[in-house]
Symmetry: C2
């Protein structure tokens, strides 16, 4: 299988970090992660580096690291044209640069300079090199606040030193965690950026902000809109896997039906299969785009519809149900027909970036997930903060801090009416929309809802198969951003 | 001399940290600082402690410390009455509690709970104990951002756990550096505090924000309004001290005229006398209150008027000029007649708190000061960042970071139109008003000017000798704060 790095996968890992279902996988080191392969694109940019302090908030450590950023100035009006600044997520910035077509389409229209700034500790922007993850002291500067400070300083330096940029308006763009960063950058440094497009940024997903069932409920709804029978079948299948998973014979049946690379030996192995399936369904809801696309896996347009195909008739027989489910998920992991078998532990070899996001999820990014089996199609699971905390300590020798998350994120989260000039866009198919801003807060804090949209579909290159609401979202965003560039700041 | 701890002295030390005049004193360890003596007051409060993380911004260090805070609930309406929260400055919080009479006068009127929170590393709130200053690694958590996080978390915890406080409005109060903290608390945590009174908070004094001559120009103007001849005499006196300081005979003359405890032995000693005099004049402008008060020293009402008395006639003769100047400054250091002699190095025994503010001035609080001898009455001096940086490194093994100060403070400084609900009050006699917000920025960012006011006079207990503009300032503040408490939030 051709694994692709993508922000969805990375971001999605949260659900594993924080769900009881996945405690086992957390212990193994985020096994669902994949290695990075960058998609080629035709976008032309230059690569540059800027020396940043490793610790912006203390003065004892004077170490520096080189932050990578990508520059495309071919569209730029050097007499004060705006700067579009992508606030890099948890991954290699070249991937985000190549997968944020909306910025590339908008730049020529507004004569903008494009900057894609890499997030510290990812890609080629590595304080303390590739081994940082092994040492909690070297890893401690991996925080969103430090990353925001990097971005703010880089923007100030660019404006000070790039001829023509002194008075340029700066618009931040970001999706997913990058969308949170874009929003927070405007909230924390309102004089460094003039406005932000925060696409699919679940800034209200933090502990205490929404019920932990919310994400999987959206996943369920995204399946339900294709087929309520599909949902019924999936809900039923967990019990069947449990029953089969309890015996050698049953596990053999599961192993052959799903074409597993390795036989399920224990009921825990059957649990891993369930975790994998949950993850697949979560991912599908994130990437349910109207046209074929390659993210976690190469997928057809409207992949949930395709996946639900074999599950759209009620299946009573247990074995028949498992066979239908197997057919369904093969749409996901074997759309190209290249996969010989399915390794539910295939991602156990995590890359550095994967482990690092795990660290963030164990520190600041505490976004609980659980299920109740009623409003969602999954087995009921609870969210247990202490257990998560213990797992985090085992892996990273650190613990998440509930009160800090609440204090810092609440301020940048639930009640942000004092902020301005932020667009929050959310596709309603996307599980992360459950923690997004779905209602405009003020005339300058605009929510854009995309009913047929998956995870920050609006940041993607426009496509003839885009639904009208996707197209409309991009038009509205363009209109608002044009206003910011002209100086209609509130 | 009865030395009193006060925020003015503490804050004023900046001028020494950053002025060339005072490089020598910096090297000696902030010799102008005095030991702490707390004034008794009749205010009744309880003392409490709250366990805070030492590092809010990283997760590797899980150490905690006990933050002290003072609570007065005798006026409080426990059914949702507001919380008045003093954001502690660089010193023992009991001093600020006892010297912020305005809060005590306002609390019964608005049925408020009073909280005075101590700033980390000062008073009894000591991460790593009294020896922290010796170790840059232990001192690295002494930053305004960490202190703000302490305040925000403490407020959240109080609201969560104090019956009746859940829905209380929170108003932050602070003066001087504490005023900056009050303003920044509202800017950074707008959902934790509903409004802030930032009294004499020079949030625009940071490097690159105002000309470095600005402070001493205000000092000069505060003297000029009493007597322009006084200013002329003072300006002339530096040359006379230089001439006398160059010879043994001249130094002996200076030593006897100023009743120095120790003979001036070198021309560098004469330089120390000049530094001391500049400091006295700076302090006088800060504490030029209409009524007798005891801060740095016990002083009469309108002390500058008293000091300028002996200097109000033009003095041509050098020796006569020095004698007049000596008489003038004795108003300052010997108003009570108790001092036997003047020790220009008397403050060389700095307390822990003094050294710690020096650290802050060497890291984040980079506020340059200089003089030109034209718009001010001092010898021309330049501000040399590299020299300051070298001195800081010598003393603390750290260096200030120009670009960080600009990025972080600019965002929280010069252009804060996106913020709301902050009162910036400034007395125009106060040198720190030069870096204050003197003009309202929006309907909810209100500047209050007190032409006859010194350093945050409005936070002091009302006094029959208060000038009408001082009284008016407090009335306006009360009116605005009442609005915030009622919920007229913008």
């Amino acid at each position: 299988m051709a694994a692709k790095l993508n922000q969805f996968i990375l971001f999605q890992s949260l659900i594993c970090v924080l769900s009881i279902l996945c405690v086992e996988s957390l212990r193994k080191g985020f096994p669902h992660r994949k290695s990075h392969q960058l998609r080629e694109s035709g976008y032309a940019y230059k690569t540059a580096y800027f020396e940043q302090k490793v610790d912006h908030f203390g003065f004892a450590n004077d170490d520096t690291y080189k932050q990578r950023y990508l520059v495309a100035d071919q569209f730029w009006d050097k007499n004060g044209g705006p700067i579009f600044f992508y606030t890099g997520n948890e991954g290699d910035i070249t991937w985000f640069c190549n997968n944020t077509g909306f910025m590339w389409e908008l730049a020529p229209k507004l004569k903008a300079l494009l900057i894609f700034a890499e997030h510290r500790y990812y890609g080629a922007s590595l304080p303390y090199g590739a081994d940082a993850a092994k040492d909690p002291n070297k890893l401690q500067y991996l925080t969103s606040e430090q990353a925001l400070a990097d971005f703010a300083i880089l923007i100030q330096e660019l404006k000070a030193n790039e001829p023509g940029a002194q008075n340029s308006r700066v618009i931040a763009f970001g999706g997913s965690y990058g969308g949170m960063l874009a929003a927070w950058l405007r909230i924390k440094y309102p004089n460094v950026v003039d406005g932000s497009l925060a696409a699919s940024a679940p800034i209200w997903s933090f502990i205490g902000q929404i019920p932990c069932e919310a994400q999987l409920q959206v996943v369920t709804n995204s399946f339900k809109r294709e087929s309520s029978t599909c949902v019924k079948n999936i809900r039923k299948s967990w019990g069947v896997i449990n029953t089969l998973g309890a015996t050698d014979l049953g596990r053999a049946r599961l192993s052959t039906t799903f074409d597993l690379c390795a036989l399920l030996n224990t009921s825990a192995d059957a649990g891993a299969l369930k975790s994998w399936l949950l993850e697949v369904m979560f991912n599908l809801a994130m990437v349910d785009y109207p046209y074929p696309a390659s993210f976690l896996e190469p997928l057809p347009g409207w992949p949930i519809k395709a996946v639900c195909g074999p599950l759209s008739n009620e299946v009573v027989d247990d074995v028949a149900l498992i066979e239908a489910l197997s057919k369904a998920v093969k749409v996901y992991y074997n759309y190209t027909g290249q996969a010989k078998c399915l390794d539910v532990n295939q991602n156990a070899v995590g890359s550095l970036g994967d482990e690092l996001w795990g660290y963030q999820a164990c520190t600041e990014m505490v976004m609980p997930s659980c299920s109740n089996g009623v409003t969602d199609m999954f087995e009921p699971t609870t969210y247990n903060f202490s257990q998560v905390s213990d797992e985090c300590f085992k892996q990273f020798k650190i613990r998440p801090r509930k009160s800090w998350v609440i204090t810092e994120r609440k301020s940048w989260g639930k009640n942000i009416k004092t902020a301005s000039n932020i667009i929050f866009s959310n596709g309603l198919l996307d599980p992360w929309s459950s923690g997004g801003v779905l209602k405009s807060i003020s005339p300058s804090l605009t929510a854009i809802i995309i009913p047929n949209g998956a995870h920050h579909v609006d940041l993607r290159t426009s496509n003839p198969k885009d639904t009208p609401d996707i197209t409309k979202a991009r038009q509205t965003e363009e209109y608002i951003i044009k206003g910011w560039v002209k100086g209609d700041n509130s």
